[in-house]
């Protein structure tokens, strides 16, 4: 992009040569995904089974739902570290609703609304008081999960109705689980919003230069507020799924999910500094993380060792293009 001469008219998007598609971030991710897939199918005879592959998707669907909204938030130059704590609080509230005798529709509504409320709270603190989001959400991360601990202590909520189990355990068609379907639908919606609407263009504009965006008539604070609400909403939905899948609520539920969701977003090629990224990248990153954890799981590698691979993958995939550019002499 830097070496193209200034065009007379300014096109909506620059023509991309084929080579840029081949050397794009998404292409790199596809190569990595295919490689891991191939290694997995050689390493374990149980891998290439439709039901195995279906189980695999449960590894990433909940986190990926959050990662979509988080991608938009990070592209706009903000971050939300409180997503896992929102899951805990929403799950706790659903547990309280069960104790009060609520049915499945009410439970879902409670989970989603609590998530939305928490997101709005983050958004208000960041946009109204002008606070840095990383600090605000470290605070609300303690606060939301802290409230869950105050309510539950070392107890657990159980006794969710049988029909509630569908969201985290049910299948829509053959091996396609409800979670997987939701993941695909959300991927399409977020792709459309980010890459095909003016709202998405504004998100990129804010991430690239919030001040210029403001002067261009973009309501920066309002869009950021909406993005925080969206992230809260997706965390609420993820909370419904995970609570339904586990069938119980503890205040320590979904511990560490925020880092995995952010890893997914960054692995997907979204710039942590804001202003660049794609939903396709996040979808691929979700598959890669699912493949790595599931493949290693089939080989009986403990979860904590898998996290080494995820961490290495994150650093290597980000370092590779930088090293590549350097080796080719450019900088």
């Amino acid at each position: 992009m830097t070496d193209t001469p200034a065009p007379r008219h300014i096109p909506d998007r620059l023509d991309k040569p084929l080579s840029s598609a081949i050397f794009s971030w998404e292409a790199l991710l596809v190569v990595v995904a295919v490689a891991i897939f191939a290694v997995n199918s050689f390493a374990s005879p149980y891998f290439l089974d439709p039901w195995s592959l279906s189980d695999l998707t449960f590894n990433f669907t909940e986190k990926a739902l959050i990662a979509f909204a988080m991608a938009l938030l990070i592209i706009s130059g903000e971050i939300d570290l409180s997503v896992a704590a929102i899951i805990a609080l929403a799950s706790t509230m659903m547990g309280m609703a069960v104790q009060a005798g609520a049915g499945t529709p009410v439970l879902v509504a409670v989970g989603i609304l609590v998530g939305l409320g928490c997101g709005a709270f983050n958004g208000l603190l960041v946009t109204r008081l002008g606070l840095p989001s990383i600090v605000v959400t470290i605070g609300t991360m303690s606060l939301f999960r802290g409230v869950a601990f105050i309510i539950l202590g070392d107890q657990a909520y159980k006794g969710y109705p049988a029909s509630f189990a569908f969201f985290g355990q049910g299948y829509v068609w053959w091996v396609v689980s409800f979670e997987l379907m939701l993941f695909l639908v959300a991927a399409i919606i977020y792709w459309f919003v980010l890459h095909r609407t003016s709202f998405g263009r504004r998100v990129f504009a804010i991430g690239n230069n919030p001040i210029a965006a403001q002067f261009s008539g973009v309501r920066v604070d309002r869009i950021k507020f909406i993005l925080f609400c969206l992230t809260g909403l997706m965390s609420g939905i993820a909370s419904v799924l995970i609570t339904s899948r586990l069938g119980s609520t503890r205040p320590s539920i979904a511990q560490g999910y925020e880092l995995e969701a952010i890893t997914m977003v960054v692995l997907g090629g979204v710039s942590i500094l804001g202003g660049a990224g794609s939903i396709l990248g996040v979808v691929l990153a979700a598959f890669i993380m699912g493949l790595v954890t599931f493949g290693l799981g089939l080989l009986n590698v403990p979860g904590i060792v898998m996290s080494i691979f995820i961490g290495l993958l994150l650093i290597i995939v980000i370092a590779l293009p930088i090293l590549w550019r350097r080796l080719r002499g450019g900088r």
């Binding site: 606070l131 470290i138 999960r145 960054v266 403990p302 904590i304 060792v305 080494i308 370092a319 930088i322």
Partner: protein, 325 residues
């Protein structure tokens, strides 16, 4: 205007005094000097860690891997001690510092040489270092009975009425105070945080300064690793899980700006003490420890809201005044 420099620390000190006063109303023994010494000792490790994190945050970076570094280094020294009890403890402390330094240098090199944002690098090494702890230990614990009496006893030894752990914390505080106020490196750290571009023109190597602060936070993580393991006398993969956020919380409460360039040694120490006092006070005033998380969360939000007012303007003034002085 000179007092302006200490403005935030004085407010924090006042908040801590009020906090101690309120707790004493419920439990008169709390403000007893002996008890306050105990609280200081309990908070020593957090204070040391907060200082290591502070220098990183001052340069507009962040080190999320400190708690994992602590866990890994703690496991290394615990296993060394269990396998070779004859190794003198000072040597083990040097080993802890070196292991921590290596882990910190890895972070620093990735940030410096590859220009990867520190939050991404340390997010990765956060999981890698903790995973590596599992690999070297095989998931096994090192228990109290495997550690030598000297390993456990050093920090508990009382010197001039104060435990050695507190002395170590005081020593680290003094060293950081000298570093930040009396050395060129300390001033460069502030300069890089306030204005990276300006720092380049002033002849400061921004990347190298960031590398050095990660080395410092790594060494601090390593030192804290030994102190943590010998204090709680168990080394496992779960040690200090999630503690990185407590460290950052102490910094934020202490008035260190996440945007870099603003903060002081006194602030980091007081921020850690604030959290330490809350943790120590809850059991004695009969509030369930489950409240602690929500309270520190609220404290973080409140602190950052109070600090945010006019932060940008003050940032430049602080550096100018300090350089003029």
């Amino acid at each position: 205007m000179k007092n302006f420099l200490r403005y935030r620390e004085i407010w924090l000190l006042a908040a801590i005094a009020v906090l101690i006063g309120l707790i004493s109303m419920r439990f008169p023994g709390f403000s007893d000097p002996a008890n306050l010494r105990q609280v200081f000792n309990d908070t020593s490790i957090l204070m040391i860690l907060a200082l290591g994190q502070m220098v990183v945050i001052l340069t507009r970076s962040i080190d999320l891997s400190m708690a994992s570094n602590l866990c890994f280094t703690g496991m290394v020294v615990a296993m060394l001690n269990a396998a070779h009890p004859a190794i003198p403890i000072p040597l083990l402390i040097v080993a802890a510092l070196l292991v921590g330094l290596v882990l910190g240098a890895i972070n620093g090199l990735l940030v410096w040489r590859l220009n990867i944002p520190s939050i991404v690098v340390t997010l990765g090494t956060l999981t890698i270092y903790r995973g590596a702890t599992f690999v070297i230990s095989g998931g096994a614990w090192v228990n109290a009975d495997q550690m030598s009496p000297a390993f456990i006893g050093l920090q508990r030894a009382v010197f001039l009425g104060i435990p050695v752990l507190s002395w170590i914390a005081l020593l680290v505080i003094a060293l950081f105070f000298l570093l930040m106020t009396r050395t060129a490196l300390g001033r460069s750290i502030y300069a890089v945080g306030v204005n990276p571009t300006g720092s380049v023109y002033a002849g400061i190597d921004v990347g190298r300064t960031k590398f050095i602060v990660f080395c410092i936070s790594g060494m601090i993580g390593g030192l804290a690793g030994y102190l943590w393991i010998s204090r709680y006398v168990i080394a496992s993969v779960e040690v200090a899980n999630g503690y990185e956020l407590n460290i950052i919380a102490a910094c934020v409460i202490g008035g260190i700006s996440i945007a870099g360039g603003i903060g002081s040694v006194g602030g980091a120490v007081l921020g850690a003490l604030f959290l330490g006092i809350i943790a120590n006070a809850l059991p004695v005033i009969n509030i369930s420890p489950f409240w602690q998380m929500a309270i520190s969360g609220s404290a973080i939000i409140l602190a950052v809201a109070l600090n945010a007012r006019g932060e940008r303007r003050q940032g430049r003034i602080i550096l100018k005044k300090a350089e003029a002085a």
